[in-house]
């Protein structure tokens, strides 16, 4: 297992390098002079030159690239243009909230999505199957901010079951959970859609396979065949889909945080955009890139857990 983990980590390095290079290029494709974008066109040439030097934009591109990579290798994301605080401090303060939200959504997605998909496949064209299809169509169709606002209107504004602003105050676990509930349901519903869909189609195929017929023929109860034999073989595509959509989930977590006014990377991104804080924006892109690479590694490690053949091979 250790060798598998080490191999996987080594494989992630080229991807990480490529994604970081992409971030470097993206931030530098700004047409025209980035200092005008940051300072406005009324800025004096001296102020622009000073900013240029502070950002390291006066150096040749290769030197900028080397600086950028070395800085990240040291675990340093630079300083915010606006507050002058280290970006790692700002990110570290809010990252737990985003991780908490994403994990809650993953749990909701798996706990509802997998059983719904299995039952839907078993009773094809029945009531549960139709419900599963409607849930997955709705989950795929709702942009995260639209479903978030509709949930807010229904449960916070009209019914007043949850707070309108999900700011987390204090350490009371019940309060924290209450503030997490609506945002997690919003993000979780999207995950339910993806998980239900892939579980349903995987199970439909698996239930027609020879090994399922054999298991049934030798007298095993249907419950055992469906949940232990068939589902086990569908777990790989389910994990793949969850892993693939972690990227989507991170993007939607950002939106959910904005709608529910919850601390997290989302609010940080919006404030960076509003204040034209390009250093912070670049730092946040690096964090997102790292998150995606880590998510991919975790997905591959999970393969090893659900399918012993992956580890051996």
């Amino acid at each position: 297992m250790l060798r598998f983990v080490v191999n996987r980590l080594l494989l992630a390095l080229p991807t990480l390098w490529a994604v970081l290079t992409l971030v470097f290029v993206l931030v530098r494709v700004v047409p025209g002079d980035p200092t005008i974008v940051v300072l406005g066109d009324q800025a004096t040439p001296a102020a622009r030159a000073a900013l240029r030097e502070r950002l390291g934009l006066d150096k040749p591109l290769v030197a900028q690239y080397a600086d950028f990579m070395l800085q990240i290798a040291r675990g340093d994301l630079g300083k915010s243009l606006v507050t002058n605080r280290p970006i790692t401090t700002d990110v570290a303060a809010v990252l737990p909230y985003t991780i908490e939200l994403t994990i809650a959504a993953l749990i909701i997605g798996s706990v509802i999505g997998i059983p719904l998909g299995v039952v839907a496949a078993q009773r094809r064209d029945g009531f549960v199957d139709w419900l599963a299809r409607i849930v997955s169509l709705a989950g795929l169709s709702f942009p995260a901010f639209v479903s978030g606002i509709l949930l807010l209107i229904a449960f916070a504004v009209e019914l007043r079951w949850f707070p309108v602003i999900s700011t987390v105050t204090g350490t009371d676990p019940m309060q924290r959970l209450r503030a997490l509930a609506l945002p997690a349901i919003n993000l979780g519903l999207i995950m339910v859609a993806y998980v239900t869909r892939v579980t349903r189609s995987g199970m439909l195929k698996a239930l027609g396979d020879d090994y399922v017929r054999t298991a049934r023929a030798k007298g095993l109860p249907k419950r055992i065949v469906v949940w232990r034999h068939a589902l086990r073989n569908v777990l790989i595509p389910i994990v793949t889909v969850i892993g693939l959509y972690l990227g989507v989930l991170i993007g939607n977590a950002v939106l959910t945080e904005i709608v529910f006014n919850r601390p997290g990377l989302g609010k940080l991104i919006v404030s960076a955009l509003n204040q034209r804080d390009y250093s912070l924006l670049q730092g946040l892109m690096v964090v997102t890139a790292l998150a995606v690479v880590v998510a991919n590694i975790l997905t591959d490690l999970t393969y090893g857990l659900v399918d012993p053949r992956v580890k051996a091979g």
Partner: protein, 286 residues
């Protein structure tokens, strides 16, 4: 000859598969209605979408203003109708650009193989690993929010997905006998790629395009909601929801109607995408 016969046999059953659940028909009907509304906006909108009336600020839905009015006293129904234009226009153009660029690169990469293919595949993997929404957001943030940059940014996020689909289909297609026959006849690579391989992979590209059309509209409305859409006062669905979000406690209708509009077009396009996919893949569980 044999492949021509296969197509003739497959065609009716594909149509049957596509129309079996009725989802495709519902999706097409909804989407067409939206397109008609967008085109006919100047004739069917009851008011000018940018006409302000300070005496009618945040009026709830009434007979005169079916969807109510916003914080500037503008008619929300008219703004939702005009908003369809921006969403559909940006979505269609960005998807089209993504399809054309992605498919051409994908076909060339898959057909030629070798170093070019390896480089393109590696670049595609990296681009695909980045969340589409964050990528679009960053691109619009650095390029500046206007109609052209919005289309460009959304198109860029779509390109890698189409490269992957077109490449994978091309890899399967180039081993087929008819491609060997083309080579034996002395056809050049460009001719084989674009006149013979391309038409045969189009069904998969079209399925993907219908789903990406939905994704493009979602990205456009999301960016508008964050404040990176077509600048005000132009009516966009995401923009109206953003205005409504600022007045959520006392004017919830402002967010609800444009949300329903987005939802309708998303459901329509997803139904079309699913219907087309079922039609193109006989093995797909229905």
């Amino acid at each position: 000859m044999s492949s021509a016969t296969a197509v003739v046999v497959a065609a009716p059953s594909a149509w049957k598969r596509a129309t079996r659940s009725g989802g495709l028909a519902v999706g097409l009907a909804l989407a067409l209605t939206m397109v008609v509304i967008a085109i006919a906006a100047p004739w069917i909108a009851p008011f000018d979408p940018n006409d302000q009336d300070v005496l009618l600020k945040l009026e709830p839905p009434s007979a005169a203003h079916l969807f109510g009015t916003d914080a500037f006293g503008r008619d929300v129904l008219s703004r939702v109708i005009y908003g369809a234009r921006i969403s559909l226009f940006v979505g269609a153009l960005a998807t089209l650009a993504g399809v054309v660029i992605g498919t051409v690169i994908g076909v060339v990469s898959g057909y030629l193989g070798g170093v070019i293919d390896r480089l393109i595949t590696a670049a595609t993997d990296v681009l695909l690993s980045f969340p589409q929404l964050i990528m679009g957001l960053m691109l619009v943030a650095v390029l500046g929010a206007n109609l052209f940059n919005l289309i460009l940014a959304i198109a860029i996020t779509a390109v890698p997905a189409f490269i992957r689909v077109a490449r994978a289909s091309t890899l399967a297609m180039k081993e087929r006998d008819f491609v060997d026959a083309c080579r034996a006849l002395g056809f050049g690579d460009p001719r084989i790629m674009f006149l013979h391989v391309l038409p045969n992979i189009m069904d998969e590209v079209v399925v993907m395009a219908s789903l990406w059309f939905a994704a493009a509209i979602r990205t456009e409305s999301t960016l508008a909601f964050i404040g990176l859409g077509v600048p005000p006062p132009t009516a966009t669905w995401g923009g109206i929801i953003r205005d409504g979000f600022d007045n959520l406690l006392d004017a919830s209708w402002l967010s609800i109607f444009p949300s329903l509009a987005i939802l309708t077009i998303m459901i329509a396009l997803n139904l079309i995408g699913d219907g087309l996919r079922d039609a193109s893949d006989p093995r797909a569980p229905q």
